[in-house]
């Protein structure tokens, strides 16, 4: 953690009761100029990532590239095997009998696209990450149940403990906690 060296705490975390409150607070924080922050919720909320200014993911691109590599690789392998390395006359069919190669090509497109997407998603998310500073807050355990959190990180240039605390109080959260490293 880079911030560990420069800031005494990881950030400040506010707790909210429902998704509407969380999205409202996130929008307010974004409008107030905070950028290094994250919203946490027990289920996906589109509006929350929008409010964070996080609009685009690279996951679809990774899936596309993986799928194209898998498909073209499978086709090339079959072509090389059946036409170059090990030509085999089966019932007088041409060596390059492409319709027969479509099935493995399709299957490998799906396989590599899917696997690339899964590994890509976890890699972009930085998972597996067994520990993270947000877990130091006791209330945070309820993020996998029924609570919603907004954490403004100390690494944000606008962050200062007193000012940000004051700002968070104006959002009417259930509680505010300091997030130690």
């Amino acid at each position: 953690m880079k911030q560990a060296l420069t800031t005494p705490i990881y950030g400040l975390m506010a707790e909210f009761e429902n998704s509407t409150e969380l999205v409202k607070a996130t929008k307010a924080a974004y409008a107030a100029g905070y950028r290094k922050m994250d919203a946490y919720s027990p289920f996906p909320i589109d509006e929350a990532s929008e409010a964070l200014g996080f609009h685009k993911t690279r996951v679809p691109l990774i899936v596309l590239v993986g799928g194209l590599l898998g498909g073209s690789g499978a086709y090339a392998l079959q072509y090389w095997i059946n036409c170059i390395s090990y030509p085999l006359n089966v019932g007088g069919r041409p060596w390059h009998s492409w319709p027969a190669f479509i099935v493995p090509t399709f299957e490998m497109t799906v396989l590599f696209g899917g696997l690339a997407g899964v590994f890509g998603m976890f890699a972009l998310n930085g998972l597996p990450m067994p520990h993270h500073p947000v877990f130091n807050v006791d209330e945070f355990a309820r993020v996998t149940r029924d609570r919603f959190f907004l954490c403004v990180e100390a690494a944000d240039p606008q962050f200062d403990v007193v000012g940000t605390m004051k700002f968070m109080q104006s959002l009417n959260p259930l509680s505010i906690s300091e997030v130690p490293h």
Binding site: N18, S19, V23, T26, D38, A39, Y40, S41, P42, F43, P44, I45, D46, E47, A48, S49, L52, F54, T57, V59, P60, V63, G67, Q78, I81, N82, S85, Y86, V90, R93, A100, V103, P104, F106, E107, M108, V110, L111, G113, G114, L115, G117, V118, M121, F122, N125, L127, P128, M129, P130, H131, H132, V134, F135, A141, R142, V143, T144, R145, D146
Partner: protein, 464 residues
């Protein structure tokens, strides 16, 4: 995935007044979480579960004995011989892989179609897919004769300098089934990650916490993570949809590409896919009805789910009936002596009782599902589902055995009788499947918790 407000399935959102709701009222984030997670974490092991587990375990032992004896003696212990070299192994392979299809249909296709009622049955339907594919995968390998050389099916640079024959549907099968198994497994695991995080926080025992923690990979519900997660989930569904249709299509190619009468027909791919979904939904009901009763999940798996599954069975059953009709029609219309004889042989030959039982189980009895009163009777649904599972097994038996036992030359006809080892392997895989399901419902949340939270009206972000 998340739907826009107008597509959301709310508790009170019912198409017409007497339609049961997707979730019974009174549920909150907390109660949904507790109902599903406590079935795993705090519920003691009951006598019902234990006895089911032991019975299933017994059949797994039967499987181990049968497979060991098979490895020692070879496939001669089965009833297969020339001309019927396929026998039970292929019948069971097609049956099991078909059962798996409903899981992917529910988790992927219904997701893309925004059928949010799927959220409470997708998790265990995916588990069912995985275990059914595992059972299916055993059969072709055991049937190889030298199963320890199964890796020869994959294209790898071998010292023998030979490669698989890519013009053969049997090689396509290897690609289709292994891709299907892999994608089903990752789809299932990706869906489980946020729920493992819930289990990690709810578990009391430090070891349990740690194990769930490892599988949760440190999931913390960040909005950025959810965004990528949702994007991947919908893409996986998009990839799994053509995949599931391709798998049974490829399985049907094993038959359709051969020249055997009764196999060489273009109706096979769609009718195999419909039959797969038909038997898969039957298996979903066979599992869902006892699970919801035993674990008191009636408020989450409601009559809506059971009735919708029944309707899907009715629709796919009619497609299957159409397939049977056209098989017959084309057999007559083709003018081919062998095709006509194949039909006569099915209707009046040595396996005729199987054929008529199949028509009874797959076409006639399921028509009772038209009656709304019977559709809302869980005991009846359970019995009809069992009936369909038997019918679909008979269908594969009729296709494989009748055509092979009497093909072109009467001098090469034969008769197939399954031996006790055939039955031992088959019942053994039934035991394996049940054992895996019994373990699954004890150690993992059987219903997707985070997707159930999304179904609650309070999950909606209200505009200011």
């Amino acid at each position: 995935m998340r739907e826009g407000p107008e597509e959301k399935t709310l508790l009170e959102d019912v198409p017409w007044p007497d339609e049961p709701p997707v979730m019974l009222p009174g549920e909150t984030y907390g109660t949904v979480t507790d109902t599903i997670a406590d079935a795993v974490l705090t519920r003691p092991i009951g006598l019902g579960w234990l006895s089911g587990f032991l019975v299933a375990g017994f059949f797994v032992m039967v499987l181990l004995v049968a497979v060991t004896y098979l490895f020692i003696r070879g496939v001669g212990i089965w009833g297969i011989e020339i001309p019927v070299a396929w026998g039970f192994a292929i019948v069971n392979f097609v049956w099991w892989i078909g059962i798996g299809h409903a899981g992917t249909l529910i988790s992927a296709i219904l997701l893309l179609l925004k059928q949010t009622w799927r959220n409470s049955i997708n998790r265990f339907a995916e588990a069912m897919t995985l275990f059914a594919v595992a059972c299916a995968g055993m059969f072709p390998v055991l049937h190889l004769g030298r199963p320890w050389l199964a890796y020869w099916l994959f294209p790898y640079p071998s010292s023998m300098g030979v490669w698989p024959q890519f013009r053969s549907p049997l090689v396509w099968d290897v690609f289709a089934v292994s891709t299907y198994a892999t994608i089903s497994a990752v789809f299932w695991y990706v869906g489980l990650v946020p729920d493992f995080a819930t289990m990690r926080e709810k578990a009391k025992h430090p070891l349990t916490k740690k194990v769930y923690g490892i599988f949760a990979m440190g999931w913390r519900g960040s909005a950025r993570h959810w965004k990528r997660y949702e994007s991947l989930y919908i893409l996986l569904a998009g990839l799994a949809t053509p995949l599931v249709l391709s798998v049974h299509t490829v399985v049907s190619f094993d038959f359709a590409i051969a020249v055997i009468p009764g196999w060489h027909t273009t109706i096979f791919p769609p009718y195999f896919v419909a039959g797969a979904i038909y038997s898969g939904f039957a298996m979903v009901l066979v599992l869902a009805i006892p699970i919801r009763k035993y674990y008191h999940l009636e408020s989450l798996i409601t009559m809506r789910h059971l009735q919708n599954s029944a309707k899907v069975m009715l629709a796919t059953g009619l497609i299957v009936a159409y397939g049977y009709f056209f098989e017959t029609f084309i057999g007559m219309y083709s003018g081919s002596t062998y095709e006509r004889f194949m039909l006569q042989n099915r209707w009046f030959g040595p396996y005729a009782p199987m054929y008529w039982a199949l028509i009874l189980c797959n076409i006639l009895i399921p028509q009772l599902l038209w009656i709304p009163k019977l559709r809302s009777n869980t005991a009846f649904l359970f019995l009809v589902s069992l009936d369909i599972l038997i019918g679909m097994w008979l269908e594969r038996f009729v296709i494989v055995i009748t055509s092979l036992s009497r093909d072109f030359l009467p001098s090469s006809w034969g008769h197939y009788t399954a031996t006790r080892w055939d039955w031992a392997v088959f019942t053994g895989t039934l035991g394996f499947f049940s054992l895996a399901m019994f373990i699954f419902i004890r150690i993992m949340p059987a219903i997707s918790i985070f997707e159930m939270r999304q179904l609650l009206p309070e999950s909606e972000v209200k505009a200011e």
